[in-house]
């Protein structure tokens, strides 16, 4: 390594040692651009990479730069794919990555994927290519079956974590679990909650019994409540438990077995599952309530009084996910009982109904924000809201990091004043200086975007639907929000002007999604022509965009920055706008 005359530098080994303390990507990225030698050292010792958009960079580029990676995290489809807005076959295939890494990273230990298409072939390749493979997390993925899981179970000798959160798995048989060899004793975390069919209980029991390090176990619905004590006795050191179906016939012996099993789990901090919840069996968990920090009751269709009886004992609760059956009254009790609450999510029990089916309104959220000073993350579905409530919430909780409000009916105004919610959300962004994620709803004009652009300096992700009046709204956001990384918009009257005026901004963001807006095909072409480091993808089920006038708006637009150039795995209804060449089909 060449030394400059004026500045002595540290030997490589020292630098490498120093860098080894840097775990965050941001720090590592910063370090790598200091100078060439630091770049070289850093790239040799980086072990963990995060790629927020799998199309932003090619596997080959990654492998050429980082030679000995142990942990990879990849994300595929845009967030709105969760709500059926991205048609099937759009992309997000992981196989090219697996194939490339199989050759390049034989010591890879961890793979975490989100919204990607994973095939059995990929899973098999993973299981056979990485001798020390330890962690597989598939979050909201699809495309694989239990056969692929069988390969993982059978071949990964040192598997620690298998987490299938909310993936769509083709359930061919429950026998895949039996493929874990008797010699596999390394499991720390197993999440099979999303699987539909029954797994062999005896295989499950034996697996749990021989996994002394098991700390997280999330069962699927098919595991019956009567058998839960068996598993709990085998794993008394569990920290996180997801039950199966939480219902059984009323039998005192079943209840007492369950209660006893729970009381033996002294380290339990988190509970989830609770499908088909029968209130009569809830008291079985009372013994662990006081230590619980995390409770997911969002599948429990029980009424407020039963919910409250449980929650008011959970004085250490930090995270609560629950259905709106909890009602305003229940949330008021939550506010009094759980002073350590940091995150609240209230999901709708009847999202498609036109009317309120439970008394859950702005009052509940106001109560929790007033009573829980540590609250920083909210996802709240309700049917009515007022600016006054939002202002009160902002005043009580200036520490919000994530605020997502969904007023179920689009364009609903303030129910007291019939005004838009510009003031209310404005108060949120103004007071909450650390706000990183925001989702808007209700009636909103361009003014709210003005406030967001002015105050949302740390905002990284913004979701907008059925809001705004004109291009000005989008312009405020793109020109004002300095930290913006992800912007997703649907059904708003935003057109070409703000995009073209802020075109360069798009290169500083991970991605932009716009659907059912007014961005014309011509503008898409222009953006692509002028900004070669953006991929501009147009999704249109009406056929090729050039069969319509250039001024015609596109149905869906997805723009993301990339150093990988255009992709070639797109389906027929996605067109990429290419520089110079105009329109190209995939």
């Amino acid at each position: 390594m060449a030394h400059s005359l004026s500045t002595p530098s540290f030997p490589e080994e020292v630098l490498e040692h120093v860098f080894s303390f840097l775990s965050s990507d941001k720090d590592r990225n910063a370090v790598s651009v200091v100078c060439k030698s630091w770049y070289e050292i850093e790239r040799c010792c980086r072990r963990r990479i995060f790629i927020g958009n799998c199309y932003a960079v090619s596997p080959r580029t990654v492998i050429q730069r980082f030679q000995d990676v142990r942990s990879v995290e990849l994300k595929g489809k845009p967030h709105f794919a969760d709500f059926n807005l991205v048609p099937e076959g759009w992309g997000g295939y992981v196989h090219p990555w697996i194939a490339a890494m199989a050759a390049a990273y034989p010591w890879l230990e961890e793979i975490r994927l989100k919204r990607m298409v994973v095939t059995d072939e990929s899973l098999e390749l993973i299981s056979k290519s990485f001798k020390n493979f330890k962690v597989l997390v598939l979050s909201t993925c699809e495309g694989f079956s239990t056969d692929g899981l069988a390969a993982i179970a059978a071949n990964c000798r040192n598997l620690r974590e298998l987490d299938l959160r909310e993936s769509e798995v083709e359930d061919l048989s429950g026998h895949w679990l039996s493929h874990f060899p008797e010699t596999c004793t390394s499991l720390v975390s197993l999440n099979i909650a999303c699987l539909g069919s029954e797994v062999s209980f005896s295989a499950l029991e034996r697996l749990v019994a021989r996994s002394p390090n098991l700390r997280t176990l999330r069962l699927n619905r098919a595991v019956p409540l009567e058998k839960l004590p068996i598993l709990l006795h085998r794993a008394p050191h569990l920290v996180e438990l997801g039950t199966g179906a939480y219902s059984a016939e009323s039998r005192p012996d079943v209840f007492s077995n369950l209660a006893e099993a729970f009381s033996a789990c002294k380290q339990l901090k988190g509970l989830s599952g609770f499908w088909d919840l029968v209130p009569a069996y809830l008291p079985a968990v009372y013994s662990v309530c006081s230590k619980l920090t995390s409770l997911n009751l969002s599948y429990a269709t029980i009424q407020s009084p039963d919910l409250v009886k449980l929650i008011c004992q959970c004085h250490s609760l930090q995270r609560l996910w629950v259905l709106d059956y909890i009602e305003d009254a229940g949330l008021e009790i939550l506010a009094r009982s759980c002073k350590d609450l940091q995150e609240l999510r209230v999901f709708p029990s009847d999202p498609y109904g036109a009317e309120e089916n439970v008394p859950l309104t702005e009052r509940g959220l106001v109560a929790v924000s007033e009573g829980c000073p540590k609250l920083h993350s909210v996802l709240y579905f309700c049917r009515r809201m007022s600016n006054a409530a939002l202002v009160a919430i902002a005043r009580s909780c200036p520490n919000f990091i994530c605020f997502r409000l969904c007023i179920i009916e689009p364009r609903t105004p303030d129910y007291l004043t019939l005004e838009p919610f510009d003031t209310g959300f404005g108060a949120i962004v103004e007071r909450c200086k650390e706000l990183r994620r925001l989702s808007l709803s209700g009636l909103l004009t361009d003014r709210v975007f003005g406030y967001i652009g002015q105050h949302g300096k740390k905002l990284e992700m913004l979701s907008v639907a059925f809001a705004g009046d004109s291009d000005l709204g989008l312009h405020h956001v793109l020109s004002g929000c300095e930290s913006l990384r992800k912007l997703e918009i649907r059904d708003c009257p935003f057109g070409d002007k703000p995009l073209l005026a802020n075109a360069a901004k798009l290169e500083t963001m991970r991605s932009l999604w716009m659907s059912s807006c007014s961005v014309s095909f011509g503008a898409c072409k222009l953006l692509a022509q002028k900004l070669p480091r953006l991929n501009v993808e147009v999704m249109d089920e009406r056929g090729p965009p050039d069969s319509r006038p250039e001024s015609c708006p596109v149905e869906k637009l997805y723009i993301y920055r990339t150093v990988a150039g255009p992709r070639f795995d797109m389906p027929d209804f996605v067109w990429k706008m290419e520089e110079g060449a105009g329109l190209r089909y995939s």
Partner: protein, 327 residues
């Protein structure tokens, strides 16, 4: 705070949550100065809220939208100079774009730049009271993940189908075999909540010859006719939002005629509606009572008649749906 540590990250907005995600691997992307695309934020201060009339971004950009605020003024030829908020000049346009200006000005699309032909019209003064039930007609709204909705609906399905304690009847060659309903039924006798949510059951629908699959909510329908009508609408009009559909059929020729109907249940000339059941068999839709169909269907396929022969499809159009059992 890792999402998903509650055993599921579902729900509106998904589990993205909060994370200090690093940028994409590699050095941070910077805007190349050579591009000369200068951010216009300095031109339009976002700390004041100019009225619409003040916002003369005046992009010298003609996309064939015709008149309106998109004034074409040229700055230095061949440069990207920013002048009064313009980022592009006429000279920078490739010829194809400019020539389109004349051709598309003769199109039928209205010329307001904010409002191209197929878009939806919204303006500040179009305040309309919320229409009840709009949310149920719009794709992907409210933003609740399908996974969550299907989990909820499966709970109520177990409860309601206690009434159908009789057997599901089916077989491979289209005749039907007795089968027992899952013993889980009995567990839920105590589990009836006071309020029954109306839940969804999304299943995939594919149509031969159409690359894009769809999803349809079976629980939003209560009969085969209902379902057939929805599928008709979906695959004949091929649009994903209510508003797009309206303007599209009115103003554009479009890819498919809006008037064509698949008439899926009544002997459509070209297609038949089939479904895959729990056992993986493909059956013709319409043979079993609606409730039984709902509880056993996994996905739908609108199949070309020519391919449906293996299903024992018969030439006569009448299928008596009341005929429940065959041997």
């Amino acid at each position: 705070m890792a999402s998903g540590s509650l055993g599921g990250s579902g729900g509106g907005g998904g589990g993205g949550g909060v994370s200090g995600d690093g940028s994409t691997t590699g050095s941070m992307s910077t805007v190349s100065k050579e591009d000369n695309l200068v951010l216009l934020s300095s031109e339009v201060s976002s700390s004041s809220y100019p009225d619409e009339s003040e916002l003369e971004l005046g992009l010298g950009l003609s996309l064939g939208c015709g008149g309106g605020a998109a004034a074409l003024k040229s700055s230095k030829p061949g440069s990207w100079g920013v002048h009064g908020g313009r980022i592009l000049t006429v000279q920078d346009f490739p010829p194809s774009v400019v020539s389109n200006a004349s051709s598309s000005s003769s199109s039928s699309s209205p010329t307001k730049p904010n409002n191209a032909s197929c878009g939806t019209k919204r303006s500040a003064d179009s305040f309309s009271p919320p229409r009840s039930g709009v949310s149920s007609q719009v794709v992907g709204w409210p933003p609740v993940r399908t996974y969550r909705m299907n989990s909820l609906v499966n709970q109520t399905k177990l409860l309601t189908s206690e009434d159908c304690n009789s057997t599901i009847v089916k077989s491979k060659s289209k005749s039907i075999v007795l089968d027992k309903i899952d013993g889980n039924m009995s567990r839920n006798k105590n589990a009836k909540p006071k309020v029954f949510p109306k839940n969804t059951l999304f299943v995939k629908v594919n149509m031969d010859g159409v690359p894009i699959g769809r999803k349809v909510d079976l629980n939003a329908h209560n009969s085969y006719e209902d379902l057939a009508q929805t599928l008709d609408d979906m695959f004949c009009r091929t649009s994903t939002t209510v508003s797009a559909r309206i303007s599209y059929t009115e103003e554009n020729g479009g890819m498919r005629e809006a008037t064509e109907s698949l008439r899926l249940l009544n002997g459509s000339p070209e297609f038949v509606l089939t479904y895959e059941d729990r056992d993986g068999d493909w059956m013709l839709v319409g043979d079993v009572p609606w409730e039984m169909f709902i509880s056993s269907v996994k996905r739908l396929r609108i199949m070309r008649r020519s391919e449906a022969n293996g299903l024992g499809f018969q030439e006569q159009n009448e299928r008596q749906r009341s005929k429940p059992i065959w041997t």
